[in-house]
Amino acid sequence: MPTVTLNRKTVEKLVGKKLPEDKLKDRISMLGTDLEEVTDEEIIVEIFPNRPDLLSEQGFGRALSSFIGLNTGLRNYHVKKTGAKVFVDKGMENVRPYTVCAIIKNLKLDDEKIREIIQIQEKLHVTFCRKRKKAAIGIYPLEKIKLPIYFTSKKPEEIIFRPLEWKKEINAKEILEQHPTGIKYKDLVKGLKRYAIFHDADENILSFTPIINSHMTGKINDKTKEAFLEVSGFDLHTANYVLNIMVTALADMGADIYSMEVVYPDRTLTTPDLSPRKMKVDYKYINKWLGLDLSEKEFKKYLEMMGFGYEDKHALIPAYRPDVIHPVDLGEDVAIAYGYENFEPVLPEKATTGKENDFEKFRKQVSKILAGLNMLELSSYHLANKDTQFKRMSFEEGSHVEIANSVSEEYNIMRWWMLPQLMQVLQENTHNEYPQNIFESGVVFKLDDKEETGVKEFTRLAAALCGNDADYTKIRQILDYLLRSIGLEYEIKETEHPSFIGGRVGRVYVKGKAVAYIGEIHPFVLENFAVEMPVAAFELNLSEVFSLLSE
């Protein structure tokens, strides 16, 4: 979630009231943002991804002002018509299908306002625009541009202009190779044969979108009075919301919004369109959902506190609120306005019968039996190290599940069996008192085509005795006691297993099914784990044992 640093003075001016610090902090968190810090100059908040309209001083101040009851209800923004046109070329659907645009006039910019505009743009890019993947914003000084504007595409080598903060003209291919912004975002145009550009009536390139603007025509400063604003991308809804969030923030800075005609080959859109959406307010439904009994009047009040209009049993949803897609979304806003702190906790009296999972219950009993034999239970990670799982156990690789992107390189597969982790624990405890008798039950992972994910998970129990007296007999006694305690008969047949000493390892069968290996760990393996005490161990398939038990 993005953290924004807002200018406290600007916000307070927009709110229209200076709240005492405690109250300010409280209202900010109860409005639905994660407050990090309030200083004399700044308000630092984390904005949830559903409210991109709060990413600016203007949007935030607007919402807070309504929420504290000062300036409630739907804000009206006037959009003046210009008739100025943006022509969208044929074939853009394969490059970058949509653009929506506006003209902003009467901008009174200074360094602080420019910082604010850049921050909104950046934060929207990172969040709602998904790092420019879904949409990207461009803003240009109108005085350097000759209308109309064209949204078109060209081959990379034919796009030649001077990108922002660059000394000379280069082509789009070179921008992606040389310019820091080009390098950062080059993946966004990967695989495209033609790149999208905006140019003006004189064929001056305004930008190579979504990568970078022109240094000549794509940079606003404190002298800019009028601007051309465009949002382009792959999703018209997203683009519209981004444009609406931008223009309303600029309007709250004191600027005027003018529309443009965006002429597509098959239709013409007049943007921005700031008319509110209507959604029916289903009181009964929302009251029930929240456990409240609010009247229509209260609904109206609460919706207005959240910046909605209310008219004829309908909420009027501001054009900068993309998050309201279902009536329950209105419910949440009503709940926020009502105040989460005002909901009393009610525990329903309705009776249901609780039930523990049968296998988990069984697993708990097994653990208790082993603890009763003076063994210590461990807790290890499900993620494991491939070498430890196989090579150090002198075991050939099993069909294991591999992680694609672990940031902890040491943990690169899902554990395939439990014993290696027990060995690891013995390795890390050589300075502690012996005997060390340990066990753990846990999930192991194997490849299996029959499963929906291709992965079969089951629970294994591993136990190890380590100390002067640890030997086959001692571990066999433990297994024997365990299986007798749960009422299972078993037999053991001699077998071979590379982790155990030959002639001292057995395969355990219950009802003809192999369920465990048991034996003395091979000194070669002990050496790999730097353990200088004998170890006797078993690993038992608990899932299998449980299903045999239930048969």
Binding site: L290, I325, A335, L347, L383
Partner: protein
């Protein structure tokens, strides 16, 4: 205490030592006199001291002992002396000298330097170096040096008792290789207290007392004629430890118990899931930041799974694209079945809730479920980050359940966990509306601590899974932060450290 009571409680070792005690005796002498083992005397003395029968004065003293070369030189003389003896009659080359004196090269070169400094020898360079004795050298040969005199003392000697010139000799010798070694020794002097004198004067061996009760004794009833030695029941004993469950599992059992008592049924399920179940079914859009590589563990092998229920896939695809019949507008994008198939480690236990809702039938309502299990997040391990952690998940599926009930369940749970103050704040999760962050008041830190998320599932989640509409209250709570203080844990990695000493000594969960 009266001396007889004390005598009655004496351990056999104490009884054995007591007659040998005098007004003042050193520990070593006591060992010799009693003929007992060091350790036995040590224990007896300690116990007797606890009973205020004797007093031990310890003093640490520095001792000097002969080392291996010291022993040799005492017998054969210091190397420099042997050097001089070898050339007493005629000058020798260094090689010849080595042979005649029996000194090794190192000893020769040390002696050479030392004797040269004292003017006891002359060195001439001919074909090789030739050494001859001087008049001063001859003088030296006549008497023992201070060092040699020192070596003849009775060792060990106490350093502080040495004469000044002996000290000087000792310090010189200590500079040289393995002649002397210094040792610190604790000297214990034992003296009887007033009470001790009384006790030692009393008759100790009177009536025969039983120490350890043996089966033989019981069978023969021989104990009847004897008294029982009274034990010092107040004294500390060596600690032992038993087997036990891992401390996190003790908490997990406790948490399960809380929900079972509230009538919840346990959910379990796989840790590997497709994105379809872990995220899509919970109405998380496919381009949501949570899906990005850095947060989620994706699998390399098997990279993708499959989606068996094609009808469900259709419902969820439509819900994402246009809201299906849920009354929602949906996220309005093109849903990708391929993205849905990507395998990952479950990012939250809410995936278990999704699976449970999918299997739930209308006639089973109202129904309540919980899970306590591991979730995964792709983090580098450090003191405050783990890549796997417990999450306590819960859902209540009931046509009448509401937001107030949700808070009611949460408060109840946290009370039982020892956190009576709970608050909720507006939050955001793509699958709940309203969404609430859950904080508990931390009585030690004196601040609100964020524990998890909660809310009521959006119809876009519940309807495609269940096939019908019904509110579902849901929560996912962290466990790690709730139990850190109980065991005074400051580094989250401790949950997985498996230090056996620590596991043996840790207190059990008693809430």
């Amino acid at each position: 205490m009266n001396p007889d009571d004390i005598i009655n409680k004496l351990h056999p070792l104490e009884r054995k030592v007591l007659p040998h005690l005098e007004k003042k005796i050193s520990f070593d002498d006591l060992v010799k006199k009693s003929g007992m083992k060091d350790i036995e005397v040590m224990r007896a003395v300690q116990w007797l001291e606890n009973k205020d029968i004797l007093k031990v004065d310890s003093e640490e003293k520095e001792f000097i002992e002969l080392d291996s070369n010291g022993l040799l030189y005492r017998k054969e003389g210091m190397p420099e002396k042997r050097f001089l003896k070898a050339i007493k009659d005629k000058p020798l080359s260094l090689g010849g000298l080595e042979k005649k004196s029996g000194l090794d090269r190192n000893e020769v070169s040390i002696s050479l330097g030392m004797l040269k400094r004292h003017g006891a020898i002359d060195i001439k360079k001919e074909k090789e170096l030739v050494v001859s004795i001087t008049g001063k050298g001859k003088e030296l040969l006549k008497k023992d040096s201070l060092e040699e005199q020192f070596l003849k003392k009775n060792f060990p000697v106490e350093f502080s008792c040495l004469e000044p010139q002996e000290k000087h000799a000792a310090l010189e010798l200590l500079k040289r290789k393995q002649i002397l070694k210094k040792d610190k020794k604790t000297f214990r002097e034992i003296s009887l207290t007033e009470l001790g004198e009384k006790v030692s004067k009393s008759k100790i061996s009177g009536k025969e007392v039983v120490d350890k009760i043996t089966p033989k004794m019981l069978k023969a009833k021989s104990w009847k004629k004897k008294g029982f030695r009274a034990f010092d029941v107040e004294i500390n004993v060596p600690s032992i430890s038993g087997g036990k469950r891992h401390f996190t599992n003790q908490v997990v059992e406790y948490v399960k118990q809380i929900w079972l008592e509230l009538g919840f049924t346990e959910m379990t399920g796989n840790m590997v899931h497709t994105g379809f179940w872990d995220l899509d079914a919970l109405f998380v859009p496919q381009d949501h930041p949570a899906r990005e590589m850095q947060d989620t563990f994706y699998l390399k092998e098997p990279k993708k799974g499959s989606i068996k229920d094609k009808e469900l896939l259709k419902r969820i695809k439509q819900t994402h694209e246009n809201g299906w019949t849920t009354g929602s507008m949906g996220w309005r994008y093109n849903y990708s079945e391929e993205t849905a198939k990507e395998n990952m480690l479950r990012t939250h236990n809410t995936v278990l809730s999704a699976e449970t809702l999918y299997k739930l039938k209308k006639q089973d309502l109202p129904a309540k479920f919980f899970a306590v299990g591991k979730c995964f997040r792709n983090e580098t391990l450090d003191w405050k980050h783990l890549f796997e952690f417990y999450q306590v998940e819960g859902i209540v599926v009931d046509p009448d359940v509401n937001f107030k009930n949700l808070i009611g369940y949460l408060r109840n749970f946290f009370r039982k966990m020892g956190f009576p103050n709970v608050r909720i704040r507006p939050g955001h999760f793509p699958y709940t509306e309203p969404s609430a962050e859950v904080d508990v008041w931390h009585p030690v830190k004196k601040q609100w601590v964020e524990i998890g998320g909660s809310g009521i599932f959006r119809p876009e989640v519940s309807k495609p899974l269940m096939g019908f509409e019904c509110p579902v209250a849901a929560w996912g709570l962290g466990l790690g932060r709730l139990i850190m203080d109980y065991w005074d844990i400051h580094d989250l990695r401790q949950y997985y450290k498996n230090d056996l000493k620590q596991l043996r000594e840790m207190k059990v969960w008693l809430k």
